[in-house]
């Protein structure tokens, strides 16, 4: 460590103006309209001139090598300016329309895809999985890669009825968008935490651990004179909140961990109000490296949706129009007791009218 300079703290992020393309600065707040020139290519019109955006896929988990390549392209075609989107795509911001095609060519040479705009499947919002998180019931990056390999044509085209947003989370903490996505893939545990009685008394505060369980499944107990906890297995619904609070209660279980599939959520207010994602498939096995059951299930839903929904109809809006019985019918997904809600507001999900399709 070289010369001792004063250590800075609480400086916050740099001011964004430093990073705005001159054309963005001039048009700032004055944009008039936009057009989608091609999948992944937007034109925003403003009084100071048109800005061209080229949107590029990213695995999100990237190396400095990946980014250096991207930055070089930004220098070459976008005056050194770029941004990332809220779904982790890269966006090159071009003042010069003529740069679009050469840029696209080089992107493609890097093995990346241009797309994700308009009625496409954009990048998957996802999480850490086995790459970094202690809590994961499945891997996130591998699932995303497997699913997007199947669905890449929907990223590079805009042929779906509407935007289709997918999310992956590796445990019930749902770090991301699982609870409000058109399709969501969620890692699940299916067996109660395994208590490590040797370490628990040292690692965990008993009252906090007991209190962490939403279903009161955890009780203090004493083993060989030391206070630890036990779990009432009938009451446990594998949420993992105890494990977050107490490391000595891991839920990982290679035989039983796996993936559930959810559908019909949305975030934007366009047409319908935001909707939660609802359970479609309670359990599919973890089958790395390619999770064929999961990719197959997701692709099936996407294709049935694509064939049946009306323009501008998001997955949830489509299901609301045709009804859930028809959704299960069309997709061939089995309806089970697990689909029946039994949590806090379960009663509000019961069909309390005669409005039904047969």
């Amino acid at each position: 460590m070289a010369t001792e300079v004063e250590r800075k703290t609480d400086i916050g992020p740099p001011h964004y103006e430093k990073f705005l393309h001159p054309l963005v600065k001039e048009n700032y707040g004055k944009w008039e309209y936009h057009e989608t020139l091609a999948p992944g290519v937007l034109m925003h019109h403003g009084p100071a001139g048109d800005l061209y955006t080229v949107r590029v896929s990213s695995p999100r988990l990237v190396s400095i090598n990946f980014l250096n390549n991207i930055l070089d392209l930004a220098d070459k075609y976008a005056d050194g300016y770029l941004r990332f989107t809220s779904r982790n795509n890269v966006e090159f911001l071009l003042a010069n329309k003529d740069n679009i095609e050469p840029l696209k060519k080089e992107i493609s040479e890097l093995g990346l895809l241009v797309g994700g705009t308009n009625n496409a499947i954009s990048n998957i919002v996802h999480t850490q999985g086995w790459v970094h998180c202690h809590s994961a019931a499945t891997d996130a990056s591998g699932l995303v890669k497997s699913v997007m390999d199947e669905l890449a044509e929907y990223f590079t085209s805009q042929k779906l009825p509407a935007k289709l947003r997918i999310a992956v989370a590796c445990c019930l903490n749902m770090c991301g968008a699982v609870h409000a996505s058109d399709i969501a893939i969620l890692g699940v545990h299916r067996t109660p935490p395994k208590i490590d009685n040797a370490t628990l008394p040292n690692l965990c505060e008993i009252p906090t651990t007991v209190a962490s369980c939403p279903n009161n499944a955890i009780r203090p107990t004493s083993i060989e004179g030391k206070t630890t906890v036990k779990v009432d297995e009938d009451k446990c619904m594998y949420c993992g909140n105890c494990y977050t609070v107490c490391p000595a209660m891991p839920l990982a279980d290679p035989l039983n961990d796996g993936v559930s599939i959810w559908v019909g959520g949305k975030i934007c207010n366009a047409r319908s109000e935001p909707m939660f994602t609802k359970l479609a498939i309670p359990y599919l096995p973890n089958n790395p490296p390619r999770w064929p059951e999961v990719t197959g299930a997701v692709k099936n839903i996407v294709e049935i949706y694509a064939a049946n929904a009306k323009p501008y109809e998001r997955v949830g809006e489509w299901i609301n129009r045709i009804g859930w019985p028809k959704f299960f019918d069309l997709t061939g997904i089995e309806f089970t007791k697990y689909h029946l809600d039994d949590f806090r507001h379960a009663g509000t999900t019961y069909r309390r009218s005669l409005h039904n399709r047969y």
Binding site: K8, T9, D10, G12, P13, Y16, Y28, G29, W31, E32, Y33, H34, H44, P59, L61, V62, S63, I64, F66, L67, A74, L82, R83, F84, T85, S86, N88, G111, L113, V125, W130, H132, H134, G142, K145, S146, D149, A152, L172, N173, C175, G176, A177, H179, P214, C239, G240, D253, P254, D257, C268, N269, A270, R271, S272, P274, F276, P288, P289, R344
Partner: protein, 399 residues
């Protein structure tokens, strides 16, 4: 590629059209033991169908309580390269705008001090530097701050606020999301870096109800652009859309959730008193329609993932607020909210759960806001009213 690296399962993920994270990590495996052992441990996870990370410990940089997620391998002997594998969360810029040069500075620091792997970006919005050792945390931090970058949030603190591209490239922006995100992040440095809350507090800012940052679903506080007056209509442009063959009746009029648009030939008429600002008509005809002129934001509170009372969407607390620099009204509101939550919330209770527990009425009273019908879908349907005024023999009273 190091030839002692055997990852037959992961190798499968190098195939296919979508960019491969495995390929990318491998590109570093030659120079970074961390990357190599990450692949090895991950390969084992793929074989065994389980993760091999230990619950994180308390690691961080001096004087900060957040911004670093500690992580250790559960098999440090087998995979020494990842025996430590902590992440640093770096505050992204407003709207994730960067220059190549600025990012390169970060990459260089990370090449020196860490694994060379990143998440661009994390789900909360941070630039996540993925994997380094405890002893590297302080030097990395020092190097970053020297270049003008600071850590984001983690733990029970204000998390890194994030915002949509907004006025930077979007014609729909009803307020300056970039400026507000910058302002709030700087105004609340202490709350961001020193966890003192009951639990995490996330702020997301979207410039309009399209909500491109998912504020309604993923932020304890959502600040979402909106307008109060009439949608601006350019009649010529409407006519152009109609003439160009756009099925305005089928795609716009019939998709309006309140049926408040009428198409008469190539003119449209909007009953703005019934418009719920859903954005759909504007989205379909951006050249012809735009949000009104009286712009601001609605403020929602309480969105979160399901742990533990079930997922929540944000709920409208301020139906409309004008948002102009220096954003004092927002600061004032945030501080009133934090104060009440701090005093009456419990440990690990997000603001959404807190409001549900104490009730919206109590919460509003606590932060000094009046109840408005815009805050609810519908009034109560149960008769269990806690009447507070009553008459006593001696006259009127209040409990």
């Amino acid at each position: 590629m190091a030839d002692d690296l055997k990852t037959p399962l992961l190798d499968e993920l190098e195939k296919g059209p979508w960019p491969s994270f495995v390929k990318d990590i491998k590109s570093l495996a030659g120079k970074k033991e961390m990357a190599k052992d990450l692949l090895r441990q991950l390969e084992k996870s793929y074989e065994d169908k389980r993760g091999y990370w230990k619950h994180g410990g308390l690691v961080g940089v001096m004087g900060y309580g957040g911004g670093v997620i500690g992580r250790y391998s559960a098999l440090p002997e087998e995979f020494p390269g990842v025996s430590h594998f902590h992440t640093l969360r770096i505050n992204q810029t407003s709207g994730w705008f960067y220059t190549a040069d600025a990012l390169r500075e970060i990459l260089n620091i990370w090449e020196e001090h860490g694994s060379g792997l990143l998440n661009v970006h994390g789900s909360t919005g941070d630039l996540v530097l993925l994997g380094t050792r405890t002893e590297e945390l302080e030097p990395t931090f020092r190097a970053l701050t020297e270049k003008g970058w600071d850590l984001g949030g983690s733990g029970s603190d204000l998390r890194t606020p994030s915002c949509c591209v907004g006025p930077g490239r979007c014609e729909y922006a009803c307020y300056d999301t970039l400026s507000l995100a910058y302002n709030l992040t700087h105004a609340y440095q202490d709350e961001l870096h020193r966890p003192m809350f009951n639990y995490k507090y996330k702020i997301k800012m979207s410039g309009c109800p399209n909500d491109c940052t998912a504020a309604i679903a993923r932020s304890d506080m959502g600040i979402i652009g909106i307008w109060k007056d009439d949608i601006q209509v350019k009649p010529d442009a409407v006519a152009e859309y109609v003439d160009s063959g756009l099925d305005v009746q089928g795609l716009v009029v019939e998709n309006c959730p309140t049926g408040c648009i009428e198409l008469d030939g190539n003119e449209i008429k909007i009953d703005n008193s019934n418009c719920v600002k859903c954005m759909h008509c504007i989205n379909v005809m951006p050249k012809a329609l735009s949000p009104g002129k009286e712009r601001g934001a609605a403020i929602t509170l309480g969105a979160k993932a399901p742990i533990v009372e079930g997922a929540l969407f944000g709920s409208v607390i301020i139906p409309f607020m004008k948002l102009e620099e220096p954003f004092e009204e927002v600061h004032d509101l945030i501080e009133r909210i934090w104060e009440f939550w701090d005093e009456h919330g419990t440990n690990r209770e997000r603001i959404g759960e807190f409001i549900e527990r104490v009730s919206l009425a109590t919460f509003l009273e606590g932060i000094g806001e009046k109840p408005l019908p815009q805050m609810i879908k519908a009034p109560r349907d149960n008769p269990y009213v806690f009447y507070e005024e009553y008459y006593a023999e001696e006259g009127e009273g209040e409990k």
